[in-house]
């Protein structure tokens, strides 16, 4: 067919992305259609959810978290504390809350500890690591530290030594971090880093420095669409992972925006199982070293 005669339907709609009769856009049934059934056939794992309550007044209970996961058939979720008003110096109280949730729903919850590099984090780190927390959440803005600070680097080094993945907030309220993270990852240190929100004020530099690093993963919760398309067209799909940022956003939004933007970026539906859970599952399946293990 002559290209000039071809009607560019995809610029207006795709039938596979158009809801069926009576099907609300904001529904699991629509997401299943949007992802060509991937949600039914492969595990979906949310890399970014909070439990407990935040200093800003938001909160999420375990029953509400599980209800949201059930609503959109999300199999498991990485769960960590909010910027909790009871965090104290070491987040012990909110970390306990997350662990208690894990004990109630071990097949659904992947517990991550939250730490403050500026506080006495070592004891809490070891307590959580030895009990079975599967990773660490760090938030440079909320806990007022720089990723390249000496205290933070100590914590990253411990996590690398113990093979615990670290999810670190990027984007809103955080200064340029690409070079600091690049320096952090220099050399064979084994750190697995998940960049929450995949957003940077220095996007091009971040993708140049961090895009090629095989141990850096780009988590996609509430990332601006213009940043998400950059990530999806630059970074190998094996290093992009779905997150929701519950309860601030929801699983629907995370899955819908990732599926639509992946399509726009030319990523095939055959890669969606990796983006929606497979990539994260491979990270979580690496067993961390604990006290006494080899």
């Amino acid at each position: 067919m002559d290209a000039s005669e071809r009607i560019p339907y995809e610029r207006y709609f795709e039938v596979s992305m158009t809801p069926e009769p009576g099907q609300p856009l904001h529904s699991y049934e629509y997401l299943r259609r949007l992802t060509s059934g991937v949600l039914d056939e492969y595990p979906t794992i949310d890399a970014h959810t909070h439990l407990g309550r935040d200093v800003d007044g938001r909160s999420l209970s375990l029953p509400d978290l599980l209800a949201e996961l059930d609503r959109f058939h999300v199999d498991r979720a990485v769960v960590f504390p909010f910027n909790d008003p009871e965090q104290g110096d070491d987040f012990r109280v909110p970390n306990e809350r997350v662990w208690a949730a894990y004990e109630q729903a071990p097949e659904r919850i992947v517990p991550f500890m939250r730490l403050n590099p500026n506080g006495p984090w070592e004891q809490e780190y070891e307590r959580c690591r030895d009990r079975g927390h599967r990773g660490i959440k760090l938030h440079p803005r909320a806990q007022h530290f720089a990723i390249g600070s000496s205290r933070a680097r100590e914590l990253f080094a411990r996590a690398a030594a113990d093979q615990l993945p670290v999810i670190v907030h990027t984007g809103f309220g955080v200064e340029d971090v690409a070079d600091a993270i690049g320096e952090l990852l220099a050399g064979p240190n084994g750190l697995t880093l998940l960049l929450a929100h995949s957003s940077f004020i220095e996007m091009n530099q971040a993708l140049r420095v961090l895009g090629p690093r095989s141990n850096v993963y780009f988590e996609t919760s509430v990332v601006p669409a213009y940043d998400l398309i950059e990530v999806l067209t630059t970074v190998d799909p094996s290093r992009v992972i779905f997150g929701s940022d519950l309860p601030y956003a929801d699983c629907y939004t995370g899955i819908q925006s990732l599926a639509v933007m992946a399509s726009f970026a030319g990523i095939g539906v055959d890669r969606l199982p990796d983006l929606l859970g497979g990539n994260l599952l491979r990270i979580l399946n690496r067993r961390p070293r604990t006290e006494g293990s080899g």
Binding site: E10, R11, E14, V15, L25, L228, Y248, T253, F264, G268
Partner: protein, 167 residues
Amino acid sequence: MTPQHRTLLVGREPLAVCKEVVERGLHPEAVDVDTGVRVMPLVLNDRRHFTLWMRLYSRTLAARNLAFAGDATHAQWEIEAAIRATTDPPCFLESVYLDELRLLLRSAQRALAAGETGVDHYGPHISLLVAENWCLMRLYRRQVQIEDVSDDIAEIAQGRAPHHRPD
């Protein structure tokens, strides 16, 4: 270039109408839809599509910035203006997407009304960012180009373009 002659289709379900457009080889910009309530174009042309979604994006972005600045009153004005702009769809196909955007805007509206008006409140920021993304995704839709045009038109439009085909 779009055809000069317009075709009137009757229907209320977007999926059925889109399928008929593809099956009959009609250009989307040359189709009107009679929903039984009103007759309207299936889609907008590029200029009107851009204007619609840029207006909504700008309102939403303004609301988020105002909320950040602690100016909840003016943020609510912008949200209300955006909601108003979603309630009278100028074409058939965008109406479902405008409905969803309205839900997102109402979520931000509720959060601000509930007192989440400080710079440390993350909720309205997220609701409005998600709403912005919704607008941007509609704008990106017009940028999509399938480079391989050797496949059958209907196959591409039905979401089975080469990059969508599972192995």
